[in-house]
């Protein structure tokens, strides 16, 4: 028993356990579930039933078996490689999306720390700046996939993806400046703790959505554009350039792209929750002073998960509500509307902080 506790107190072991929990038990299952939920939820919006036919024996689980069926199907599909493609780049392109998607969870806390033990894989000082660095990595996935496929449609998709993603990165950073100013840090744990404060005694929590409403809109928009989902899915553009940058991919490598996309959805939801909705903090929980510590952690994790699921749902709902932008309109929206807006937001936040604080 002591030995076990001793092993568990080694930081590296703790880190690995956290990673296993976050990735294998939280992000990946949620991402995989999203592949089905995208279809089920869209079906509900569109007055359909959605997939419900795959079965294991008599078990259908309202379509849950489709997750396994999809996986099995793509395993047994041929992994094609188009003629004249750059084999190495074609091979490594699916890696980047998954790396970026997974790495986002490094800085997301899911519950309050107990002593020195944090429910967060790592709490680095640059925090969100790291996120920007990582998300820009996923540009490579799209660009390399598009460039190496030796297909015109894929190339168009790849170039579109690169232009769109780097552009939206600019004001993704700008949109978050307000948050940095309000909470005075780029470290995620400090931003989350900053949101645990209240206005008017303990009436209204100081969540990011309330301190930075415009920042929230801009950041969410930029993140959705970063994940190349509707309404910013011009790089995929399934009706004009067929499937965009991953047009030539099939089988498991195609699944890697898909999984990366859905993990990214979860990542976006986790980031939005963390930065704008108090992270794991359950509002007004501090009023219940006698709450046992474990229950508080469970409640915090439950609140965090609920918000993450809600924002996953929100992104999927958004996709099935709005049409998509044309590529040049995406760019124009970014550079001509969102960029000035986020600059203005930054300046206004700075002025307000300096005047009132």
């Amino acid at each position: 028993m002591n030995l076990l506790l001793e092993i568990l107190s080694i930081p590296l072991v703790q880190t690995i356990l956290k990673i296993v929990f976050m990735i294998m038990l939280f992000a990946m299952p949620l991402g995989t579930l999203m592949t089905l939920m995208e279809r089920k939820w869209s079906a509900m919006v569109q007055d359909r039933v959605g997939p419900n036919r795959a079965n294991v024996g008599s078990f259908r689980g309202h379509g849950l078996a489709h997750i396994a069926a999809d996986g099995l199907k793509s395993i047994f599909k041929e992994d094609t490689m188009p003629e004249g493609s750059d084999r190495f780049l074609y091979l490594i392109a699916p890696f980047f999306g998954l790396i970026a998607g997974v790495s986002v969870f490094a800085i997301v806390p899911i519950a309050a720390p107990i002593g020195s033990f944090t429910f967060q894989i790592t709490d680095i000082e640059p925090g969100l700046l790291f996120i920007f660095a990582i998300t820009s990595l996923s540009v490579y996935g799209a660009v390399l996939a598009g460039a190496s496929s030796n297909s015109k449609f894929a190339l168009l998709g790849g170039t579109r993806a690169s232009a769109q993603m780097i552009s939206y990165e600019v004001f993704m950073g700008l949109a978050l400046m307000g948050i940095f100013m309000v909470y005075g840090s780029t470290r995620v744990s400090e931003i989350v703790d900053g949101q645990n404060a209240y206005w008017f005694g303990s009436l209204i929590p100081k969540w990011g959505i309330l301190t930075q409403p415009l920042g929230f809109l801009l950041f969410t928009t930029a993140l959705v554009a970063e994940t190349k989902r509707a309404p910013f899915d011009a790089p995929e553009g399934e009706s004009e350039i067929v499937a965009g940058y991953f047009l030539e991919y099939s089988g498991m490598r195609w699944s890697a792209f898909m999984l990366a996309e859905y993990v990214a959805i979860v990542g976006v939801a986790a980031l939005v929750t963390t930065l704008f909705f108090g992270g794991y903090h359950v509002p007004w929980l501090h009023l219940w002073e006698s709450a046992p510590e474990w229950l508080v952690r469970v409640l915090q994790f439950a609140k965090f998960t609920a918000f993450v699921v809600f924002f996953c749902w929100f992104q999927i709902q958004l996709r099935w509500t709005v049409p998509k932008f044309r590529f040049d309109q995406t760019m124009a929206l970014g550079w001509k509307k969102l960029l000035p807006l986020s600059l203005a937001n930054t300046v206004a936040t700075a002025a307000v902080i300096l005047i009132f604080v």
């Binding site: 990673i19 395993i75 894989i121 005075g184 047009l247 498991m252 124009a332 550079w335 300046v347």
Partner: protein, 120 residues
């Protein structure tokens, strides 16, 4: 708080990402059937046997976008320290940053006027 403790997890995570994608690739390569035909190997060309992207040239707009991005992204990086330290730096920092931001805005206005933002 050492570099190792803070950044090792990120390295591990990147390895996890690589591992996942690698697993996917390897499973696909090992288990999937291999029946290559000429039609299947040809890049998609709406039903014809295409020749791929020979002769394609990038639109110059993409390079313009890259240039504009470069300028803005690098300049925005300079703003981060100010945002974190805004209370300490006070109005002096604000004015200084405004000068900096106005340079950015002028740059944006110039690009806009020059049509670098138009996708025509």
């Amino acid at each position: 708080m050492t570099i190792t403790n803070d950044y090792l997890p990120i390295l591990i995570l990147i390895l996890v990402g690589i591992g996942l994608a690698g697993m996917f690739t390897i499973i696909g390569l090992v288990v999937g059937p291999k029946l290559r035909t000429r039609e299947k190997a040809a890049p998609f060309e709406s039903g014809f046997l295409g020749k791929g992207m020979e002769g394609y040239r990038y639109d110059v707009k993409f390079f313009m976008t890259a240039l504009v991005f470069l300028v803005f992204d690098v300049e925005i990086v300079f703003l981060y320290p100010w945002t974190v330290q805004i209370r300490e730096l006070g109005w002096f920092g604000f004015v200084a940053s405004m000068v900096f931001i106005s340079v950015l805005v002028i740059g944006l206005a110039y690009d806009w006027k020059k049509g670098a933002l138009e996708w025509e």
